[in-house]
C-alpha cells in the first residue's frame, strides 16, 4: 500500500520533510511554464524541469532543465513528477518518468488515447508507482504542496478529503467547503477519462486512514461505475466518517459524450441514477447542487456527534 502523504510530505525525520522535490516534464512549454510558476508561488519545491534538447539551461534563472527524466532524477533524487506535454507525447514522457524511478506521476494532459493510458498503468504497476490522471487537475495538500493546475483561492488546509473527477467542480465545491469552514486535508483529481490511474476506490484507500480525517466529499459525474464501486467499498469497509457526494450529469442525454472522454452513459451503464442509488444504499447523501455539499456535510457531522 502506497502512503500518499509519505510521498507528498514525508516524515518529520526526513531532511526534506514538507518540501519534497517535484520535477516538471514540459517546463518550457506555454502551459508548463505558466503552471511551473504557479506551483512555485504556492510553495511547491520544483527541483528540476525536463525538456529534451534544452538540458543545461535554467528555467526562470533558477530551475535546472535536463534532457531526460533519468538525468533529472539522478541529479535531484525526486520521486514526484508532473507532465504538461501534449497528449500525443504523453506515452513517451510517462515511460521516461517511470523508468527513472518516479513514484508519483501526475498526468495533466487531456485527450490521451486509452491504449496509451493502459500501457502506462501496466508499467506503473510493475514499478510500484502511482499515476494521478490523465486529464486531472492534479493532487494537493492545501497550504503545503500543489502538484497540479488548481487555482489557490478555493483551498484551505483542514480535515476534509475531496475526491473529484472534474477540475472546475473541485474548485467550486472546495470553495463552498472553505467558505463554510471546512478546510481540506488533501484533494485528489481522479480525472475525466474512461481509465484513471488512481480510481475513486484507490483514492479512498489513500485517504480513509488519515488520523485526523473528519469527513470526505466525493465529486463524481456520469460515465463508468467508479462511484458505484466506491460506494460498495465504503459499505464493506465500515468507513464511518461523514461523507457527502455530488454527481454531475443528471440532465445529460444518453450516448453523448459530455466534454470529458469518460462522461458518457451507455444504456444504464454510467447513469447518474445508478450512482445516486448506490450512494443512498451506502447512507451517503447526494447533493443536488454544488452549494448544497457543505450543508449536507454539516448535517452529517451533527448526526455523528
Amino acid at each position: 500500500m502506497i502512503d500518499i502523504f509519505d510521498i507528498l510530505k514525508g516524515k518529520p525525520e526526513d531532511s526534506d520533510y514538507k518540501k519534497k522535490g517535484v520535477i516538471i516534464q514540459g517546463i518550457t512549454g506555454a502551459y508548463g511554464s505558466l503552471h511551473a510558476r504557479n506551483m512555485m508561488a504556492y510553495g511547491t519545491n520544483v527541483v528540476a524541469g525536463v525538456t529534451p534538447g534544452k538540458g543545461g539551461q535554467k528555467f526562470d534563472d533558477k530551475v535546472p532543465i535536463y534532457n531526460t527524466m533519468q538525468d533529472a532524477v539522478d541529479a535531484t533524487s525526486a520521486k514526484i513528477s508532473i507532465i504538461y506535454v501534449p497528449a500525443k507525447f504523453f506515452l513517451d514522457a510517462a515511460k521516461d518518468a517511470l523508468e527513472a524511478g518516479i513514484k508519483l506521476l501526475v498526468a495533466i494532459p487531456e485527450h490521451v488515447p486509452v491504449r496509451d493510458t493502459m500501457e502506462v498503468l501496466n508499467l506503473a504497476n510493475e514499478k510500484g508507482a502511482v499515476i494521478i490522471g490523465p486529464n486531472t487537475p492534479g493532487i494537493m495538500i492545501p497550504e503545503l504542496i500543489k502538484v497540479g493546475i488548481m487555482p489557490p483561492m478555493p483551498f484551505k488546509a483542514g480535515k476534509i478529503a475531496v475526491l473529484s473527477k472534474s477540475g472546475t467542480l473541485l474548485y467550486e465545491i472546495s470553495d463552498a467547503l472553505t467558505n463554510a469552514g471546512f478546510g481540506q486535508s488533501i484533494t485528489i483529481g481522479i480525472g475525466g477519462d474512461p481509465i484513471n490511474g488512481t480510481r475513486m476506490i484507490d483514492a479512498f484507500d489513500m485517504v480513509k486512514d488519515i488520523p485526523d480525517l473528519e469527513g470526505m466529499v466525493v465529486v463524481g459525474e456520469i460515465g463508468g461505475d467508479s462511484e458505484e464501486i466506491l460506494a460498495q467499498r465504503i459499505i464493506d469497509s465500515g468507513f464511518n466518517k461523514p461523507t457527502v457526494a455530488y454527481i454531475a450529469g443528471r440532465a445529460a442525454p444518453k450516448e453523448k459524450r459530455m466534454g470529458h472522454a469518460g462522461a458518457i452513459v451507455m444504456g444504464t451503464y454510467g447513469s447518474a441514477e445508478s450512482k445516486v442509488s448506490m450512494f443512498n444504499k451506502a447512507n451517503i447523501p447526494v447533493a443536488k447542487r454544488p452549494a448544497e455539499v457543505p450543508v449536507l456535510l454539516a448535517g452529517k457531522m451533527e448526526k455523528s456527534d
Binding site: 472546475t168 445529460a252 459530455m258
Partner: protein, 368 residues
Amino acid sequence: MRLLEFQAKELFREYGINLLDSKSSTKIEEGREHAKELGYPFVIKIQVPVGGRGKAGGIQKCQNDDEFEIKYPQVMDLTIKGEKARAILLEKMADIKKELYLSLFLNRSKRCYTIIASAEGGVEIESVKNQIIKEVGLGEVSDEVAREVAKEMGLEGKTAEGFVDTLKKLSKLTIEKEAELAEINPLAIMQDDAIMALDGKFVTDDNSNFRHPELQKYQEKSEIEERAEKSGFSLVELDGDIAVVGNGAGLVMSTLDMLSDNGGKPACFLDVGGGATTESVYEALTLISKMDKIKGILVNLYGGIVKTTVVAEAFLKAYENNLIDLPVFSRLKGTESEKATEMLQGSRTKIFDSIEEAINAAVMEVKK
C-alpha cells in the same frame, strides 16, 4: 466516434467476419439500383447512430418494387431519438436458426477488454439472458479463450468453429482500431450452421483518431461542431432554448442539471475549456449565434485565474458587432467582478452572484 451499422460492417468485412449481402445509399435512385442488384426479398434498415431502430419502425421487410417505393422514403423520413437517417442499408433476408449476442468492450473499472456473449441474443443488452462475461486483458482473444466461451454457450461443431473465428476476428479489429465497444447483436446461426453478423455497433476512442487516418471518412461533424473542436471547445447540441456555456466539463454538466431542475431547457452544452479569454468567449458566442431556437444564454465560469473583466469585454464586443441580440445571464467567479459588472451596466448581459440566481432569471426571461 460511433460508426453507423454499414460502416461497422465495412470494417467487419475487411476483417473477414461473415456478412449477408448489403448495400448502403442516401437517395432512392441509388436504392433502386441496389434493389435490382440484390433481388427481393430484402430488409430496409435506417442508418442512425442510436439503438432501438426496430421498435421505431426503422427496419422494414421489402418483398417487391411497389413496397420498395413506399417503404424506402418512409424509413428515410424517420427521426429516431432525435436522429435523422444518415443513409439506408438494404440487406438480404436471412434464414436464421438462432440469434446469439457477442460484444467486446473496454471495461473501465477492470482496465481490460471484456467479452460478453450469450446464446440468447437479438434483444437489447440489458435484457440479454445468461450472459457469459470474460475479462481478456489488453491483447487479442486467444483461440483457447474463444473456445471456452463457445463451449459455455453450448455451441458445437461447425457453429462453434464459426463463433470462435468471428470472436477472434472481432477482437483483432477492436484492438487494431482502438475501439471502446464492438458489438454484434444479433450474431446469427444460419440454417446451414454458418455464423453471420446481422448487425454491428462500433465505437472508437476519439483520442486515438490521430493514429487512424483510415477512419477519418466515418467522422461526422456539423459545421458548428467542427468550429468548436478547432477552438478546443466541447459542444453537444440539445433541443431546448437556453444555451449553456461554461469552463470545465463537470461545471457545465452541473449547470445543465440545475437549469433542468428549475424548469429550463438547455439548447446546448458548451465547454470552452479550463481557462477563458476574451477570444474564447467571443468565439463561443459566435457559435451560439449560429444555432436556431435560442432565447437566452446562461454563462457559468469559475475562473481561478481568469479576470471577469476579460470575459465582460467579449460580451460587449458581441453586442457591438451585432453578433448576438440575446440576453445573457452570467455568473463569473474570478477577480475584478465589480469592475466587470460596472462595464456591463446597461447592456443585455446581467451578472449574478450565484448560479442559482442566474438560472432563475434566465428561466423567467425565456418564459415571457
